[in-house]
Homo-oligomer: 466 residues x 2
Amino acid sequence: MQIQVDSTRPQPLVEQIVSAIRGQIDDRILRPGMRLPPIRRLAEHQQVSRFTVVEAYDRLVAQGYLDSRRGSGFYVASRNLPEPEQEDPERVERAIDAAWLMRALGSEGEGRITAASGSLPASWMEEDAVMRNLRQLTRSAESRVTSYGTPQGFAPLRDQLQLRLAEVGIRTQPSQIVLTYGATQALDLVARYFLKAGDAVLVDDPGYWNVFASFRLQGLRLLGVPRNEDGPDLAALEDFLAHEQPRLFFTQSLLHNPTSSCISPAIAFRLLQLAEKHDFMIVDDDIYGDMLPGGGTRLAALDQLQRVIHVGSYSKTISGNLRVGFLAARPDLARALTDVKITTTLSSPELAERMVHLMLTEGHYHKYIDRLQTRLQRATERTCRMLERIGLRADFEPKGGQFVWMQVPGVADTTAMARHAVEEGIILAPGSVFRSNAQPSGYLRFNVATSEHPRLERFISEQLSR
Amino acid sequence: MQIQVDSTRPQPLVEQIVSAIRGQIDDRILRPGMRLPPIRRLAEHQQVSRFTVVEAYDRLVAQGYLDSRRGSGFYVASRNLPEPEQEDPERVERAIDAAWLMRALGSEGEGRITAASGSLPASWMEEDAVMRNLRQLTRSAESRVTSYGTPQGFAPLRDQLQLRLAEVGIRTQPSQIVLTYGATQALDLVARYFLKAGDAVLVDDPGYWNVFASFRLQGLRLLGVPRNEDGPDLAALEDFLAHEQPRLFFTQSLLHNPTSSCISPAIAFRLLQLAEKHDFMIVDDDIYGDMLPGGGTRLAALDQLQRVIHVGSYSKTISGNLRVGFLAARPDLARALTDVKITTTLSSPELAERMVHLMLTEGHYHKYIDRLQTRLQRATERTCRMLERIGLRADFEPKGGQFVWMQVPGVADTTAMARHAVEEGIILAPGSVFRSNAQPSGYLRFNVATSEHPRLERFISEQLSR
């Protein structure tokens, strides 16, 4: 066997041996069933320690390249794996819906423009601080990570969230806070606890597509409350309430997705009055609130969690990867929702929760958020100008946040445009994805951090002039 | 303000200042509204850099101890938080059910004996390897963690799982594997996809309590199939199938929880025949299989995922905290279940998945599992002898795994015993928790890694002699 290790190269010796042998197996120089040199011989020949060879062989076994036969040595494995399947043609033909969008954004592609993205690029976030804190965690004797986390979530992070919520006027106990796998799980827990198949549920229209998909999965009937610049359209809401008795209204008070509109204090107050009168709860999905300069009106700050379940997340500002969100609710509800969490995902990922706790307590979060707010405001302004230049129209200009919601004049449904865009390497978010019952929409949602590209500008111009 | 920092102490200067000031605020030496010394003055006075003081003040702001007023300096915050609530008396009175058990195990307690634990103590696991790999990840430029993971899960881990499954005779594509938040989420996704409220579902009886709770939440009717030493009781199963048309059977082929029994090849074959004849799918929750010496019969290894959805997890052997599990299913099902995953939790925690991937590929996992199997076998034997000595009886002796399921002679329901045990600092798992409809049970489940305590032996002896 011809391999060459070199102790002066930066790559560790073990890895050099592993990749050399793997290369020969991949190239079929070493073939299934062939015996590898005994450990001692290879070690002598390469002038490395036997330990190094043992380690390399072990890894190759773990990776499926070698078989170890007790007492007899190591052999090239017959990698009896099925051939990769062909790309499913059905998949390509599938509708341009939310699941499609999610997949399109999840897949890789050189030079793609992801105007449809729901989150900020890594370069906008505190990647270095996250990695630094992660390193700190791995050096701390406290962060033992083999055992299960607690059902309700890492207590010091819940203490910290109590403080954060107090800052925006929401008074809670840590025992009223339940940590979740992102806001997505929080919304799901609430829906599962309160609702059963066939029930009606109020949602923003347009609104967050994933909530719609989740509710449809649960067999709920979605009542889409139109969204205005100053919050939900209460006249339309009252129309629903005249005929239906929904138990929940899922809404976003601040920087609503996709419009980036914020509820006004007056609408917030009347909405809470309606909730009282018609006996429904409001779930306020406050995942973008930190991005709003100068604060805004949160429903829970008015009613102190009596009829409001407040949901938050650090997926948008710290890390979507860690999956740390939370809900704050009345004590009885917090306890019941913890039980639902246990039955569906057992416990919390404590390591991720420790990470977020460190990020929030080390003192830089506020400054980062200040910078982020300014950066987003400027990008919002530039993106609006760019899109207006080529003929798109915003119903109003957002005060901040990561989205702008633009109407495409003369286009009743932007779905076809999104389909064409994919062929040009541009992922657009068509408005119908955000409609509560996938109705056609002449709008597009743009992420202001990922949309400033001449190629995108050109593409839309061309579409409009056809 | 009297504080004293000392650069020769190991604690960083920033932390010394933070804890000194925090202490004075907690002791109400510094009171709400009092102004802190200006940064420059404190820095000069303590002979530290201004940067150090800024950092310390920032942390104290983040932790809610100080307020920063622009242009005016730092003030002790009026920590206007609600008083902690009294322990809810209702909570103490609640039934000894699965949720109670989960909470009891989740709470801390000096010197407690957690015979009811569902997992192995950290000392039985590869804590150091997990921490080492975590450190390695934080040094790698690849592990960028601010962005979302992929919907289906970290691709290299799915590749690795393809290999692992091939080793036990299950042939899959990585595209058929969906990573989940532990096996718990995998089971939940499957139930939500296939079943709706009112549907009947087959489960092991006794079986995994969390599955029962989750199904009840979904409004399903649980049909408990009695569990024998060699697998499900097929005569009882056929009785159900004569009257009902369940679409799913949730079972554990290997090291079934709580009995640690394993299905025989003959029962496995006949079970698959029944599934074919009566058109139901089998969900095989294979989370303990790695603990079984010499392997065993997995349903998916027989039918190659035609009627079987295979579920696994590394929560039991690597880390319950990382929450990495998976399911393997027919390609069409894998795709549909990925969509359900997206709607309920959005995406995967890639950092955790990278960790498990490292653990599996670095080459030590097999050896660790070999050692663990031996250790568990010995502990099983010792625990059985200890419990038999004081009069408990096993229907059969497990071949491995972490549980023994023992009958308490003369006791029709072990719930009262578990309630008494808590007062003695012993957490016992009463059999009724594992019954499909919480029927009384004269059994107890013991974790062999946490039950060898003279105090536990004495407690049960005393209970039996009363």
